[in-house]
Amino acid sequence: MSDLNRTPLFALNAELGGKMVGFAGWEMPVQFAPGVMKEHLHCRAACGLFDVSHMGQVLLHGAGAAEALEALVPVDIIGLKPGRQRYALFTNDEGGILDDLMVANYGDRLMVVVNAANAEADIAHLKRHIEGVEVVENRALIALQGPKAEAVLASAIEDFPARFMDIAEVESAFGDLWISRSGYTGEDGFEVSVPANRAEDFARKLLAHEACEPIGLGARDSLRLEAGLCLHGQDIDATTTPVEAALTWALSKARKPGGARAGGYPGAAVIEAQLADGPARLRVGLAPEGRAPMRAGVELFSGDDPAGTITSGAFSPCLERPISMGYVSAALASPGTALEAELRGRRQPLQTATLPFIPANFKR
């Protein structure tokens, strides 16, 4: 695994017993000693610490940055107030999703956090369209997630953002921290950008709190699936539009037809047509009957007719039953629709279900 990148927390992850795997070019812990199931439940009950330093951190400088970024996403960036963060999507000319990202307004700069697997392409995309793109090097990104996340963070630093999707720059004993109150689990929590040379001390301080345990990528995936959140490259990609992906909520009012700055992003015509006419397929939750998980790639049927495909599936540690999501024909998307999945050559029943599977626990 010598050609894989290592995060500033690599040594700590290994010391903590992390089982390392290659992920998007990085050597990351997929699980620690307790295993995916216990890590998952611990995060929902208390607080999990995730090394997410593999994700791309990018700063956008200059007066025109918000306007330039707005031209790449169907989201209101100009109206994003200092101290706030918003979910956004890079679209292509067909309305497909190149990546999903978080955009934060730090007053004198915007910060963008993108998926590790797409970071190189995203940075090239940003540099083609925006001046003043600075790729952040020498910083780790640490996520704290769970109902005790605030108590854990408060044991290490004094100031932090108060509400979901607030952000703050905080001077601390661990250097200059860039903190957002957000995450990828459906729980309250934070993502903290910390100088690389202080990251291990900071993580050790957080882990010293009795409620805080390290969590690997395995549980990160089952947590986000319970929360109904998409993984780019799996549930959304360059061939799925935000409307098909049931991410219409992420399209800002100002950028939708009738809004103050409607359109003006790649693929706007396709997306606007789907908003008006409805998409042919939709991303939905799927609840398999029985205990067998139904994972990505499993084909769905309604009677003899193809109905769609599963894009993510796992066994839900909280619900103690399998959960999946995927795309189905729009006519079959209403919750409770009975379908069949072809699993190991046999048809197995499942139903469409409302997302998320586990209600969000954000601090509003």
Partner: protein, 119 residues
């Protein structure tokens, strides 16, 4: 007791073999959440994939280690798949098979050879 390269253990019980997976396999799989077992009284060939184990990570198969007839399956595993992690060498046996030719059993590794394999 003997072991296969696919991390199954085989324990003779009268003229039957009891089959399960090793601790090494169980820890590699992670938390087991679902087990699908073969029908009793079915005839299987060596190498037939007759058990599906789903863990939190992925699905894997267990192959029949010998030709023979499935005599019994451990239905407790369907109710409580976590037994595969808790007691892989004991309570969490998968099936009992009556080999057509018991000498197929003798060809498998002993414990020392298996421990060398998994290091």
């Amino acid at each position: 007791m003997k072991f296969t390269e696919d991390h199954e253990w085989l324990r003779p019980e009268d003229d039957l073999l009891v089959v399960g997976i090793t601790e090494h396999a169980s820890s590699q799989l992670g938390d087991v959440v679902f087990v699908e077992l073969p029908e009793p009284e079915t005839q299987v060939a060596k190498g037939d994939e007759i058990v599906v184990i789903e863990s939190v990570k992925a699905a894997s198969d267990i192959a029949a280690p010998v030709e023979g007839e499935i005599v019994a399956v451990n239905e407790k595993l369907m109710e409580n798949p976590a037994m595969v992690n808790e007691d892989p060498l004991g309570e969490a046996w998968f099936f009992k098979i009556k080999p057509t030719d018991m000498s197929e059993y003798e060809a498998y590794m002993d414990e020392d050879a298996y421990q060398d394999l998994v290091g």
